[in-house]
Symmetry: C2
Subunit: 206 residues, 2 copies
Amino acid sequence: MVKKRGYHHGNLRQALIDAALQLIEVRGPTGFTLSEAAKQAGVTPAAVYRHFEGREDLIAEAARQGFAMFGDLMQYAYDSGQPSALAAFEATGRAYLAFARRYPGHYIAMFESGISVNRTPELAVASANARHVLEKAATELCEHIPPDKRPPASMFSAHIWALSHGVVELYARNSPGTTSPFSPEDLLETGIGIYLRGLGLIARDS
Amino acid sequence: MVKKRGYHHGNLRQALIDAALQLIEVRGPTGFTLSEAAKQAGVTPAAVYRHFEGREDLIAEAARQGFAMFGDLMQYAYDSGQPSALAAFEATGRAYLAFARRYPGHYIAMFESGISVNRTPELAVASANARHVLEKAATELCEHIPPDKRPPASMFSAHIWALSHGVVELYARNSPGTTSPFSPEDLLETGIGIYLRGLGLIARDS
DNA sequence: TGTACATCAGTGAACGCGCGTTCACTGATGTAC
DNA sequence: TGTACATCAGTGAACGCGCGTTCACTGATGTAC
């Protein structure tokens, strides 16, 4: 609970977003209600309308912040792997899963809340930026493949995104019944490893 | 609308399930309400309780039927590819996507509705059966890999399941903004192809 | 430094709504004789 | 074949609930003079 400064909250806008994220994380994308987020921020539901147009707008902003962090994290990981295209790519993949693990509320708001990425221009920009980081890493790595055997970079990155997302959804949630003897991190790392070997990007025995 | 036989409906139970599936497909996993499903089946909400314990129970049964069909479809595809382990495996993968495409309501009820696969014993069995088909195909294909380079079959099948699920969620929905120049079918087929090449199961140039 | 005043972030009551669920009931169906 | 009756699938009214949203308001804040 944030320390209140008397009548005015101080930073209600962000407090509402944080409350929303926590509710989404605990109760799932459906479990979020505007009223409850307001209550958790110590405020009347009506106060929300000073800062957001409504319920959807609140989720959209939470998702936007998620995409912004997501993009930054992947960008940072990408940079940390440079100048090796392979290292940069693998770091980016790991960053994907790390983000989903550390910020499940954001991840759910971004991918499972049902809000369109085109709902607001800001959200669309943040989402496109994040996508671009992964695509850049994929494009760069693609250049190490002989052109005649090279898949389109957008297909490459779509494969990796799909694999990462699938691992998160099926194995990194506490989704009951869908357990696996392997950790999501292991699954993603080995999966990407085999995939890259299939592209001839890493040696067969490494 | 099903032809009614006077006062009694005839097959209200299945009509409710079908209505639920259609609503889930159109409105998303959140959009489903018991009342609306009842209305669509031409019946009072209270009538639902003659056939189901409540809202959750209805979704669980819809998901169970989905898993049953899902398992059957993959089993059929698997059989159709025999005796080639590779052909059987690839057919099973294609069947995964085909199911998600043709029965989106079932797919959503199964994987996105938030109901636990352990909610009822019948649901758990149906889900385990479906998983088993994919694992069998993976195990069989694994045997063509030299034991020292062979990944555990459960890891293998987890990779494929994750990739398939990711492709469905990100590219096979009309999820706005997440478009790709490639069809989901292409994405999954090429993705699995590269992956299998990485395992040495198909030739590098095929 | 002190006062008047504009701004605006919050209140609290109210609304209409659709939800899931319950209950006593009714009337169609099918079976025993 | 006809009748009495048990079964049970549906009705319809009612419930309490929490939701998102609106509105006129109030009182804290900060600025101009």
